[in-house]
């Protein structure tokens, strides 16, 4: 017996050594070795000490980054590119899919932006381990799953540096799966940061629609219902679109930092869109994919993703989206009638609103045309006044698409002022300077909407201001070189 033990022990040791040496490049554990460079370290991790022999498999690409350096989300933003992970051919590994945790926005000099992650990130990988082939393989094939991932990524700070590594490990397999106490919680933490589809979040909905921006261009309005803004405020990230450039989203409402507990005001983003190529017609419908981060619901942080098809070019709104193109040499300018309508629509709408308000006032006998209250037909005239007033709402609504908010407020206040002066005049004595002054004031108030509408489309000036303002941002950006890519 002792002799046999003496013989077997070296054999067992040699076998173990052989097994280990037969797999030299791969770490035999729940994580590969770190592959490091000056800016970053990367490794492949799994959630298991012993993984199940079949079924869902949780993996991850784990990055640690030097201070100030970033790797990217699936849409990298204005520069850079997303990491590409390719798993080596392994018959049992099916459909490995890289998942994308909620990204962060990094402001770059010159108003550019990047979307990605700093310090540390785990890109979870969802895969399926198939059973076929296992029975026919060797014992080692049955007990180990070789995993090798080719990771091609770009890491950026002031400069960008591309890297490409292969990270690998041999994952032990068993009938009883055992989670790894270090990597399983890490993977779980980052999996929770992958925004779920909005449809999977009860009580929350998101939708998008195309509208005409105050600048006369297209804008995509994204609305989120059922969630509040988190402490840092909500943010919106788009995946690249082939035909349209998406600009910087602006939170139009819902950014007040209310704790989300259901029943909040919707969070609304307005995102400028610009056709990449005005020589090609836009498709009537198109699909946008977006992720909203920085939300809060029932006190818990929330991010969600969505993919929605929206109507694009079916109406005159699309034609309105190209005034700049028309003036800048667009090959097929809009017809003269449409251009004339576009030019005069705000003034015409303001005129209709003013006339409607005056007609309502006249109908109620506030413009000095006195009739006995009980005279025949008086009730019909009053009814006409109410109908006219209801009609005035439409031009006011239309004006909201045509003029800046300040101008719309001015138009509405002018109409209110006209009503007030008409009422005062109706109560003033029949003759006198005051009555004349009130009449002149009334006319001025009624004419004010026309003047305000002629100052329409202030946003075009705002565009110029924004462009000029970049110089200021430019100076500020250069004060902090550490944030520069």
């Amino acid at each position: 017996m002792p002799a046999r033990r003496l013989l077997l022990q070296p054999l067992a040791a040699a076998s173990l050594l052989g097994l280990l040496l037969s797999n030299p490049p791969a770490a035999r554990a729940e994580a590969s070795r770190w592959t490091s460079n000056e800016q970053s370290s990367v490794r492949l991790i799994t959630a298991y000490r012993v993984a199940p022999r079949s079924g869902s498999l949780r993996l991850g690409i784990h990055f640690r980054l030097a201070p100030g350096w970033h790797v990217y989300w699936k849409n990298s933003g204005d520069a850079g590119f997303a990491p590409q992970v390719t798993f080596a051919s392994e018959p049992r590994l099916e459909r490995p899919e890289l998942l994308w945790p909620a990204p962060h926005r990094y402001e770059l000099p010159g108003g550019l932006v990047a979307f990605g992650y700093s310090d540390e990130v785990v890109y979870p990988v969802q895969a399926v381990l198939a059973t076929q082939g296992a029975a026919s393989g060797s014992r080692r094939d049955r007990d180990f799953l070789p995993l090798a991932a080719d990771v091609d990524y770009l890491v950026c700070k002031i400069d960008c540096v591309p890297y490409r590594y292969t990270v690998s490990l041999a994952q032990p397999l068993g009938d009883q799966a055992a989670a790894d106490p270090a990597t399983a919680p890490l993977l779980e933490r980052w999996r929770r940061q992958v925004p779920p589809a909005a449809e999977m979040v009860p009580g929350v909905a998101t939708a998008g629609r195309i509208e005409v921006s105050p600048a006369g261009g297209l804008q995509l309005v994204v609305q989120v219902d059922g969630a509040g803004a988190g402490p840092g405020g909500p943010d919106l990230f788009f995946e690249s679109h082939p035909a349209l450039e998406t600009g910087r989203p602006l939170v139009a409402s819902g950014s007040s930092g209310r704790a989300g507990a259901g029943g909040e005001a919707p969070i609304v983003f307005a995102v400028p869109l610009q056709p990449r190529d005005v020589t090609k017609p836009l498709p009537p419908r198109t699909t946008f994919a977006w992720t909203v981060t920085g939300l809060q619901r029932n006190g818990a942080p929330l991010a969600l993703s969505a993919q929605r098809e929206v109507a694009l070019a079916a109406s005159a709104r699309t034609a309105r989206a190209r005034p700049a193109a028309a003036s800048a040499g667009q090959p097929t300018p809009a017809p003269l009638t449409r251009r004339a309508w576009r030019e005069w629509e705000p003034l015409g709408t303001a005129l209709v609103a003013s006339m409607g308000a005056l007609l309502a006032l006249w109908s109620w006998g506030l413009l000095g045309v006195r009739r006995a209250p009980r005279a025949a037909g008086f009730i019909w005239r009053e009814a006409l006044g109410f109908a006219t007033l209801a009609g005035v709402l439409w031009p006011l609504y239309r004006m909201s698409f045509l003029v800046a908010p300040e101008e719309l407020a001015g138009i509405e206040l002018a109409l209110l002022c006209a009503a007030l002066l008409a009422w005062l005049r109706s109560r003033a004595s029949r003759r006198g300077a005051l009555r004349l002054a009130l009449a002149l004031g009334l006319l001025a108030c009624a004419a004010a909407p026309l003047w305000l509408a002629s100052h329409r489309r202030l946003p075009r000036a705002e565009i110029s201001a924004a462009t000029a303002g970049r110089g200021t941002d430019h100076q500020r950006d250069h004060q902090d070189d550490d944030r520069r890519f």
């Binding site: 000099p109 960008c160 995102v271 610009q274 005005v278 193109a325 309502a360």
Partner: protein, 229 residues
């Protein structure tokens, strides 16, 4: 008496039977105005002031410019009217610009299309660590065989007017002065393909222009380092 006279001078506002109706009318009009205000407040399209994407759009006129080259000469886009012009945003300290310079991607293309005006534009801010003096840039050009003019846009004005985001970021301006192509040099940001297997968008675009056609695709996503504005 004085008091009575002064009262008498104030125009009287008689209390007429019309008052309730007038007050109601004014109130309703006020409500309508308030409703309009509330309506406009709920419409983000009306209230949001959004920043434009700021990119030169294919089919629109290319923004004009006048810049000084590293050779000291002045260059103006308007002076090339009637010719096809390629604009290449460049930064020798960017690994992507450097790779294409080493591989002679742009220099070979500019020689293949000799009738085309090829201009490099460097929009790097002088305060940036990536900034090179014209002399250093010239030395880098010579080392990499770059013979086409490189212009300095230190203020970033021209870069912003085109919406240049990366180095390299390529634009083709057609003979009519319109943007014909806006995007990447090729389809291989990761340098994972042999040079001969890459789709060179600018090369294809120039060939299309020569054939009297429009580049297709006319817009792609540029890749590279961000422009160091």
């Amino acid at each position: 008496m004085t008091r009575n006279r002064s009262i008498a001078r104030i125009p009287s506002i008689p209390h007429t039977p019309r008052t309730p109706r007038a007050a109601a009318a004014a109130a309703i009009l006020a409500l309508a105005a308030a409703a309009g205000l509330a309506l406009s407040a709920t419409l983000p399209a009306a209230t949001a002031s959004v920043e434009t994407t700021g990119a030169a759009v294919v089919g629109q006129a290319a923004p004009g410019f006048q810049l000084k080259g590293i050779d000291g000469a002045n260059y103006s886009l308007a002076s090339y009217k009637g010719k096809v012009v390629v604009l290449e945003w460049i930064n020798p300290n960017c690994p992507f610009s450097n790779r294409h310079a080493r591989e002679h991607t742009m220099t070979e293309l500019s020689k293949q299309h000799g009738e085309v005006v090829w201009l490099g534009i460097n929009s790097t801010n002088p305060k940036s660590g990536d900034y090179l003096t014209p002399a250093d840039h010239l030395a880098w050009n010579k080392k990499n065989g770059i013979v086409y003019p490189v212009l300095y846009d230190e203020s970033g004005t021209v870069g912003h007017s085109y919406g240049a985001r990366t180095t390299p970021h390529m634009f083709i301006v057609d003979a009519q002065g319109n943007v014909a192509y806006n995007g990447a040099i090729d389809d291989d940001p990761r340098a994972s393909k042999p040079k001969t297997e890459r789709t060179n968008y600018v090369g294809n675009g120039l060939s299309a222009e020569e054939a009297g056609k429009r580049p297709d695709p006319a817009a792609t996503k540029p890749y590279g380092c961000s422009v160091k504005y």
